[in-house]
Each structure stands twice: as C-alpha cells, then as structure tokens.
C-alpha cells in the first residue's frame, strides 16, 4: 500500500509540474483570423450574483445572441460565481489567461468602491481591466426616480411636510441597500424620511408599501416598476402618489398614464426646495451615477487589441438585433450600447469627487460603513 501511495504522489507531482510548465509557456493568442481563433471555443461569462437576478438575466439574455456575432460562433456559457458584489467573479476572471475567453459582468458598485475608497480592490483592478461595453441604456422617463407617498397620508410634498409635523416623526422609507436615494435624501436634503434597510429588492419594498408597512417610496418609485408589479396603482384611487421628481426627467410623455392614476406631474427637487450649491452638485452626481447602467462587461486589461475589438463589435451588434431589442422590452429594459469611453469618463468623474461630496457619494453607493 505504501508503494502505491508513493507512486500516486510522484505521479501527482509530475502532473502538477506539467500543468505549471504548460501554463507558464502560454503565449498571447494569435490566429490567422478571428474566425479561426474563436471557432470551437467556449467564451465564459462570469456573473457575480445569484441565478435569476437582474445581472444574471442580463447576462443570459445577451449570451443568447452573443455567439452569433463573434466570428467562428463560439459557445457562450454563463457561470455564477457569487460573492462580495461581484469581486470574486472579477478576481477569478483576472486570473484567467488574457485570451478574451473569460468575461466578467461587473456591477457599478465595484468601480464606485475603488474610486471612492481611493485604493484598488484586492485582486481585481477595475481601472486596468478592459471594458467591452454594456448592452443596456437608461429608459427615461419610464425608469426615472421619484418620491412617492402613500396617498392616504398626503397628496403633495407640502402636505407630506404638514403630515410629518402633525405626527411628530419622520416617515418610513424602505431601502434595500444601506445607501441609494432613500438614504441620501434625508441626510443631505433634510427630507423628513427615515430609511429602513433590510428589504431585499424593489419587489419587497413595493409589497411593504402595499401592506402599509412603509409610508414613503423612494427606491422603487418609478413608472416601470409600478406598472410591472402593481398595475392597480396606476388606476384611481391609487395607493401611492408621486410628490417629487428626483432626477428631473421630462415626465410629460407619461401625462395620460398619470391622469389615469389621478396623479399630478410632480415638481423636481430644485423646484420644490431651495437647494444649496452643494446639494445641486450632489443631485447632479447622483443622477449621473444612476444614468450609468450597472452591467459593464470586462476582460483582462492585457487582452490583445484585436480580440477586444471583435468582442466590442459583437456586443454592439447584439444591441442592434431586433430580437434582442424585443426580448429586452419584454423585461422593461432598453437595448443600447454604452461605449468603453463613456464608462471611462464616468469612472474618472467618480475619482474626482472630494470632501463632503465624496462622503455623500459613498453613502449613495452604499459604502458608508466601508
């Protein structure tokens, strides 16, 4: 038995040495043509979140079309490598060869954490990874940000303030992260709301509103979410009423829908409040941040340029595919290509924040405690 074990161990050591030797001798991928390079290969898309969530659905929907637009039609496989807001998936991808066959789908939270925290993330330097782009753009005014109040409590922001004075306490607003507008508005805009964390998503926040557990809706008060999960609120008498327009989107295209719900077009924050310069700056920073969709596709920064170009072109083509556009519409998302340059500008903007604005944006990103 001892001899067998020794033989097995020697065999295992040889196998490991051989594997290491092979790994060390890997060279930058070259090919006569992209067609030849990708033909018969598998491109793996790493998703840092659980199956079934927003990131996962985005990845799988895109993966369904991506293979068609990469020359050689490689197989596209989506893998969920969950943990730490996608950091684990990012670290894993950065450890793979720089051959474009391993892509990671990143949430804005990681670049925000790196930019606002002032130091690179361990094992995943988001600013030196190569961005391929993003297949989703903002769908304003349908996905704009508003503040809604329960209609049995008030009908406008002024009435909400009067109600708060009457009951002598702030109104409860559900948030699913420790940050976001639900936390920023009461802290930096003196709005009389108390953010209540612990909700797992917009769906549970809307349900809590339906149960009269919450009084104000900040995260989740937009037309698309309500239309999808509580279409009955879009008919009179509605359970909720928009009282503030946070991002300043033009809501007039929704006028007839608002009329049906018995809603007025709400004033923007700067119309309702006398904002200080700092508040104006913060409002703009928050709106800019929320306009940048959170599904950027990245590969290792040292991936050969021609592979980056092939994959960027393919992702752009996916966003122009009529079937993909239709599939995205089914889930209330708008297909559209966000370029690496646009992301670069966004990340650099984040790095430029200082002082109180930086602290406020950290809260917005849910990083106050980190």
């Amino acid at each position: 038995v001892a001899v067998n074990v020794t033989r097995m161990m020697v065999g295992a050591v040889f196998a490991i040495v051989a594997l290491l030797f092979t790994a060390c001798n890997q060279q930058a991928p070259t090919a006569a043509s992209p067609q030849e390079y990708f033909n018969g290969k598998t491109v793996t898309v790493e998703v840092g979140y659980s199956p079934g969530g927003g990131q996962d659905t985005n990845a799988r929907l895109t993966a369904k079309y991506l293979g068609k637009y990469i020359p050689g039609n490689p197989l596209i496989v989506v893998e969920n490598r969950t943990g730490s807001d996608g950091l684990i998936a990012g670290q894993y991808t950065m450890q793979q060869p720089a051959d474009g066959l391993s892509i990671v789908l990143v949430n804005n939270i990681l670049p925000q954490k790196a930019a606002l925290g002032g130091q690179p993330l361990p094992g995943f330097d988001v600013f030196h990874a190569a961005v391929l782009g993003n297949m989703q753009v903002s769908n304003r005014p349908y996905d704009n940000y508003m503040v809604c109040v329960r209609s049995d409590l008030a009908q406008s922001y002024q009435q909400t303030l009067a109600y708060v004075k009457q009951v002598g306490r702030p109104l409860t607003a559900g948030v699913f992260r420790s940050g976001s507008w639900g936390a920023v508005l009461p802290t930096y805009f003196d709005m009389p709301f108390k953010p209540v964390a612990g909700y797992t998503g917009t769906d549970t926040i809307l349900q809590a509103m339906d149960q009269n557990e919450l009084e104000v809706l900040v995260d989740g008060c937009n037309y698309e979410q309500i239309d999808r999960l509580h279409p009955d609120w879009l008919k009179k008498p509605s359970r909720v009423r928009p009282i503030l327009n946070i991002d300043g989107s033009d809501l007039t295209p929704l006028k007839s829908a608002f009329d049906e719900a018995g809603w007025e077009i709400p004033p923007t924050i700067d119309q309702a409040l006398n904002l200080t310069d700092f508040q104006k700056q913060l409002l703009k920073a928050g709106v800019d941040s929320s306009l940048t969709q959170t599904h950027e596709w990245m590969v290792r920064g040292d991936t050969p340029g021609w592979i980056l170009q092939v994959e960027r072109d393919a992702l752009k083509s996916v966003t122009e595919d009529a079937a993909f556009i239709a599939d995205m519409e089914k889930i209330y998302r708008k297909a559209g290509y966000v370029t690496p340059q646009q992301y670069d500008a966004y990340f650099r903007g984040l790095q430029g924040y200082t002082g109180e604005l930086k602290e406020a944006m950290k809260m917005f990103a849910g990083l106050a405690g980190q």
Partner: protein, 513 residues
C-alpha cells in the same frame, strides 16, 4: 368562474399534447437526478432553464415545472441513505431517516418519505390553485412582525431539538447565530468579522457548504473509519426482506399519520407563502413541531422514527408548490429556484404579478397541472427504484465513502464556483466531526445559522416601522403566538403522558444528533 373553467380547459389541452408531456417527463427525470446529487439542484436548474428559454412557452414551462417537482422528493435519498442532505430543505429528514437506514429500515424510510412527499406536493398544488385569486390578500397578511415572530420560533426550535443536552444545545445555537453575523451588516453596511484579505467572507458563509460540512462530512468520515456499510448491523438477507416489506409499510405509516401530514402541510404552505422565510428554517420548525406534538416523539425522534421522515418530507413538498404563490401572483421570488423561474417567465414574455393572473390564468393552471403530473411520476419512479436504491446501505464504506466524498466536494464548490468554499467545507467538517465525537448537538448550530439573518433583518424592519402595540395586535402575529401557546400546552400534555410510560417501551437507539 367561467374564466377559471376556461383556463382549466386550456391548460388541460396544453398538457395533453405529446410534446409538452414529453417535456414534463424529461424535466422530471432531470429533477430526479439533480435532487439526488447533493448541491446539484440549483446548477442543474440553471442549465435546464438556459435551454428552456429558447423553447416555445408550454414546452419551456413544462420542462421547468417537471424539474421543480421531484427535487424535494429525491433529495431525501441521500439524506436517508447517507446522512447527506440533497438540498437545504432535506436537513431534518436526516434526523430520523439516516438512523433508520443504519437499522436496516431504508426501504421503510424511503417509501414513507416518497409517499409523504407526493401527498404534500398534491396538497400544496390544490392550495396554490385555490389561493391564487386571493393571493395578494393572503401574502399581505404576513409582514415584518410575523417574520420576526416566526424567526423567534426558529430560535425556540433550538431548545426543542436540544432536550437532553439543553446547555450544549443553547451554546451551539448561539454559536450558529454568531457565525451567521459574518459578512456585511445588512442594515448599516458595516463589515463584520471580515477583512479585505478574505473578500469571500463579505457575503457571509455559504449555507450549503456549512450544512454539508457540519452534517455530511462527519458521517462519511465515520464510514471511512468504521469501514463498514451504512446498515452496519444488518445482514443482506434481512435487509432485502426489510426493503420489500418496508415499501408497503412506509405507505401505510403515512396513511396512519393523517393528522401529522395535515399539520405539516399546513405549516409548509404558510411558510411557502411567506417571502423571506427560508426553507431551512421551515424544515426545522416542522420537525420540532412534530417532535413536540406527536406521542412519544420526544424519546423516539432522532433515533429512527418514521414520523420524523413523514413530517419534513410532506411539508417541504407543500412548501415547494406554495412558494409559487408569491412568485406568480406578486412577482416576489421566495427562493433561488423561484428567482430562476421568475427569470425564465420574464424571458418567455410572461411577467409574473397581477397581470399574469388576469391575462394568463391558463398558464397558472398549466403550471399547477405540470407540477401535479410530475409529482405522480416522481413518486411512482422513486417507489419502484427504492428496492434497488436501498441497497446502497449495504455497500462497503471503502467503495461508498470516496464516491460520496467526491460529490460533497463538488456540491460545496458548485454552490458558488469558489475555491474558498472548499476551505470552508474542511473547517465545517472538522467542527462537525468533533461535535459528533464529543456529543455536541449539531442541529442547533445549523438552526442558529439559518435563523440569524432572518431575525436580524426583520427585527430591524419591525422596530423601525411598527410600535410594540401595532406589532402585538396584528392578526398574523396573534395567530402565530396563539398557535405556539397551544402547541406548547399540547406538547407538555403529550410529554406528561409519555413520561408515564415504562421506560422499556421507549426505543433505545443511537441518536443522530
């Protein structure tokens, strides 16, 4: 009513088409296999749903629902035969199922488990269809205070499963609550017990890996060390006789325990309807409930009592169907599986929520019929297979243990595709092994671990959104508290009458915990 009948006739028309039938059966086969392999169910479902999303709607849903039904039936196979939970919902089944297999009663345990699963599943489907029209009202009955009270009942379960070693049990429960706190604080966003050097800890410890480490790894190590089969004291001939007789006896045992099934199914359905109650917590609640209310159970549960298999198996299958109520009616996924179904429905162009009920009631009926068909096929298949499967208990450890070890390692890894979880598995296995060796009860540790996040989340929400009076006067809270009081009273009476029995009538077998 007309719309309801029309939807039923449309759904029946769909499900009787050969392609759809084939899809449901195909999904059932995949579900059977993936439920039986520890930790594979979710990744199996991911792969299947990726394929299904490119198919026509009835075929895709048939395939998905075909796979949904068997998972919580076939997950009892590794739980009973190896002491390894096939999914997190099969933890409590181990408590009595595995000791039964060790006594050579695998046939009885499997048959009772499968038949109880069928009844639980069908009951859950009937309730799913019945509740759908008033789903919003029913689901809205349960808010943060009710979840908090249910979480507190979960803590009380620690005491129930610790009787006989109360101090050790409470310490283990507290340790479970402690390790549940690792990661980012869900309320304030502060990291707890983590550092940037180990980012894997930011999302907390993986439930599947911890459960496998605490429960399964020590059993497999035990098999290695003893180098004997699972049914260690039973001859092959006796085992073979037991398997054949056990199959009929298992079904009879289920029929004899109608009230137990009814109570377990009711609890399973309530838990399924409550978005946010984990299936693990529910599994233990049902087990503790049965242990407290069944005659003599406080002495026999944990030593190989068939009722300890029937209760969790009927409940987790009822839960499986009931969890579709908030998913379909409100678009709120209760569990990872429901999140996957939600994603599939959305990609297929069906938006779960109020509109699904109004515009596609036939789809809801079709889902219910697919689940029912798959449940019947599942039980028939598993009962037929049980005579062969039960022989696993006779396989020598030298052959069985390495195979099981490979599956455990794969299960821990595929849960997040993360090498760190293999380290976690080793640590949890080490802890589990020493707990087993020095007779520290393992279930309280796991219960504390699964209840911790629920308590923390809903305590924060409840304290911030309700006054104490508001909380205590909510009908849901009153109902749950009253039920708990009645159960405690009933349990104390049962305990009193059991204590009066001669000690010789109480089974003396090695306990699982």
């Amino acid at each position: 009513m007309d719309a309801f009948l029309h939807a039923i006739s449309l759904a029946l028309g769909e499900i009787t088409s050969p392609t759809v039938l084939l899809a449901v059966l195909g999904g059932t086969v995949i579900g059977l296999i993936s439920g039986a392999l520890p930790g594979v169910a979710t990744s199996g479902l991911v792969v299947l749903l990726s394929v299904a999303s490119t198919m026509p709607v009835p075929v895709a849903i048939g395939l998905a629902m075909g796979m949904a039904a068997p998972v919580h039936s076939s997950d009892s196979l590794p739980a009973i035969m190896l002491g390894v939970p096939g999914t997190v919902a099969a933890q409590a089944t181990i408590m009595d199922g595995y000791p039964m297999a060790r006594k050579g009663q695998a046939g009885l345990a499997l048959s009772a488990g499968y038949f109880a699963s069928l009844i639980g599943s069908l009951a859950g489907i009937v309730i799913l269809v019945a509740i759908m029209p008033v789903a919003r009202l029913v689901v809205n009955t349960f808010a943060a205070p009710e979840f908090l009270v249910m979480g507190l009942m979960g803590v009380a379960v620690v005491a129930v499963v610790s009787s006989g070693a109360m101090l050790k049990g409470l310490l283990c429960g507290a340790a479970g609550l402690g390790i549940a706190a690792i990661g980012i604080d869900p309320n304030l966003g502060y990291p707890r017990f983590v550092s940037d050097g180990v980012p894997q800890l930011y999302n907390g410890l993986d439930l599947v890996t911890v459960i496998i480490g605490i429960f399964a790894l020590p059993e497999v190590m035990g098999l290695f060390i003893e180098n004997r089969s699972v049914a260690r004291d039973v001859t092959a001939e006796a085992m073979w006789r037991n398997i054949n007789a056990g199959r009929r006896e298992g079904m009879r045992a289920v029929l004899r325990n109608k009230l137990l099934i009814l109570r377990s199914v009711a609890l399973g359905v309530v838990g399924g309807i409550m978005p946010g109650m984990g299936q693990s917590v529910l599994d233990w609640l049902v087990y503790a409930f049965a242990r407290s209310t069944e005659k003599g159970a406080s002495q026999t549960f944990g030593t190989g009592d068939v009722r300890g298999v029937i209760a969790p198996e009927s409940a987790n299958n009822a839960t499986n169907a009931a969890q579709l109520i908030p998913t379909l009616a409100l678009g709120i996924p209760v569990h990872a599986y429901q999140a996957l179904y939600l994603s599939l429905f959305i990609i297929l162009g069906l938006q779960p929520g109020p509109r699904l009920l109004n515009d596609h009631l036939d789809v809801v009926m079709f889902i219910a019929f697919s689940l029912a068909l798959s449940s019947v096929v599942t039980t028939a298949t598993l009962l037929l297979m049980s005579r062969f499967v039960a022989r696993i208990a006779l396989v020598r450890a030298a052959v069985l243990a390495p195979l099981v070890m490979v599956f455990l390692v794969l299960a821990a890894y595929t849960s997040k595709n993360n090498l760190f979880d293999l380290v976690l598995l080793a640590v949890a296995g080490f802890v589990g092994w020493h707990m087993k060796r020095y007779r520290w009860p393992r279930p309280p540790l796991v219960i504390g671990f699964v209840v911790g996040p629920i308590l923390e989340r809903y305590l924060n929400i409840a304290l911030n959104t309700y006054t104490l009076t508001d909380m205590l006067t909510r009908p849901g809270v009153v109902l749950i508290v009253l039920s708990a009081v009645v159960i405690a009273f009933y349990a104390s009476r049962i305990a009193g009458s059991t204590a009066a029995q001669p000690i010789a009538t109480v089974a003396k077998e090695p306990t699982y915990a």
